[in-house]
């Protein structure tokens, strides 16, 4: 192909710039706010921060039950942010792990073992996305009560996987189904059990797809706000989104923005590290022989 004229290059570059700014601006804005002092929040330029400070972040960790100052005792509630952080890590790690294990097992069954009607099994599992979550929490609460998990983060470890599971089963089983039979057959012929063949051959092969499923699960789980606020009632059992939802925004705006960033940054970093694998995994899963 002949080289592109300069105006097309410029057009391409400016499109890229517009797209990047559109995507990043809201995140940039929240990051800037969280680094501001109260004074700059009121009088400064909203788009930049002149004297960045971490005091909002520090305050999140400091305020645990201790009353600071006389006025503070009346106006400002304290937040057990460390508890929230711990709960969030446990819930997210647990839910992603449960999602991955359950969906890899189910996908192996559907993609490799192929019980009769496996296509319809897979479709039925995917059809779970049809269920609207609108008022589902009312009957779900009965289930949670019966399991004695009310106000317990384990309830979320149980509920969250269903948000991501159907998609994960779909892409993993599509990938397993694409793998040629010979892949594990040679191992089986040599006397290895199905389990050995699975752990030694199939699982290492499908790393990119498992990464894709994991990142999808993390992104989906981290975006829930409603379920967390419904099922975690007492302050010390809440996750960060549920906790931030209870904050008095008019008084603690900067603190809450700092909380948002504290939760978002680790999730974003994990996603960024695996971003390339995520795309590769989706490609491998959806396209035959890729």
């Amino acid at each position: 192909m002949n080289p592109k004229p300069w105006w097309r290059k410029l057009g391409h570059a400016s499109l890229l710039l517009v797209a990047a700014v559109y995507c990043v601006f809201p995140i940039y804005f929240m990051l800037v706010q969280s680094l501001k002092t109260a004074q700059e929040d009121v009088f400064g330029n909203p788009l930049i921060v002149l004297n960045p400070t971490f005091e909002n972040f520090e305050e999140l960790f400091e305020r645990k039950g201790e009353v600071r100052g006389f006025v503070g005792s009346v106006l400002r509630r304290s937040y057990p942010f460390l508890d929230w952080l711990e709960n969030t890590i446990v819930v997210f790690a647990g839910a992603v792990a449960v999602t991955l294990v359950a969906s890899i097992l189910a996908a192996y069954a559907l993609g490799r073992l192929r019980p009769p009607g496996f296509r319809w099994w897979r479709r039925a599992i995917f059809a779970a996305y049809v269920v609207p979550h609108t008022i589902l929490f009312i009957p779900l609460y009965q289930v949670v009560l019966r399991l004695h998990l009310d106000d317990n983060i384990l309830a979320l470890v149980l509920i969250y996987p269903t948000l991501a599971l159907p998609f994960c089963v779909w892409i993993l089983s599509a990938y397993f189904q694409h793998l040629p039979r010979e892949v594990e057959e040679s191992a089986l012929v040599e006397g290895a059990s199905r389990m050995t063949a699975f752990f030694r051959i199939i699982l290492p092969m499908s790393r990119p797809v498992i990464v894709a499923a994991g990142i999808f699960a993390l992104g989906t789980i981290a975006s829930d706000f409603t379920l967390a606020s419904v099922f975690l009632l007492s302050e010390h059992n809440q996750t960060i989104p549920a906790g931030l939802g209870t904050m008095e925004v008019a008084l603690d705006e900067l603190l809450a923005v700092a909380g948002i960033n504290l939760m978002a940054i680790p999730v974003v970093l994990i996603c960024a590290v695996f971003a390339r694998g995520y795309v590769r995994g989706l490609t491998a899963a959806m396209v035959e022989g890729a």
Binding site: F29, L105, R119, Q177
Partner: protein
Amino acid sequence: MIARRRDIQLAYLLLAPALLLLLTVLAYPVGWEVWTSLTDLSPLKDGPPAFVGLENYGRFLADPEFWRAATVTVVYAAVTSVAKLALGVGFALLLARPFRGRALVFLAIFLPWAYPASVSVIGWYWTLSPPIPTAYSVFMGNVKYAVDSALGGGAWAFVSVTLFNIWRGSSFIGVFLLAGINAVPPELFECAVLESKSAWRRFWLVTVPLLKPFFALAVFLSLTMAFADLANVWMLTAGRIVFPVIGTHAYWLAVKGGQFGPASALSLMLVPFLLAVLLVLFRMFDPPERERA
């Protein structure tokens, strides 16, 4: 075939954890909803619930409020889905060919989805309707006033929900379609360039058919999220719902009105439509059969 029979048994065993999760968390509650939608169950009423048949459904069909909510929901789902797809396709095409700094632009486009919506929705809420003392509250107040006076009270809140949905969804769809484009052998695009000069024609004749399964899956996920969108509408409008979607309407009936029966009926009304869409789309994104099982 003993081996085959043992394989099938093993398959059911491996399916069990996933099915168990879905049964307890989704199937039982949905069953409850279906049953409740046929009764007048309410926490405000004593005595056992009475069976009322399809009355709850029938009442809504005669209710102008319902039709208003349904219209808003459909418009919301259509507008956000089209916008997300258009932007997503744009992102994917921008990133399709290598250029300097591609990794950075890719990360930028990946960010809105990777940034947890549970907290970014809170952030959007204050950015769009900030607490009074902040430096940008006057500016945002003016925007809100302008939009509300042009489109009616509460419009700004609804516009902001739409913007948020599109912002986050276009990122997911863009990355998803990029995964699709990556799978297409570059020779195919090169052949297409020789066949037709018009980039627009090439897009419809080559790119779209090749990416069909990706489009189908993306459209479906986008629709279900829009139809069931409760959390975003709720958070961004802080519960002051001026433009009800079916989800918030049902939530309002159940939580504020204690009318579990009608609320269940209302939230279930979307299910047949989504199922119908899904059945059509399955044909497009089902993994193709390569070897005979």
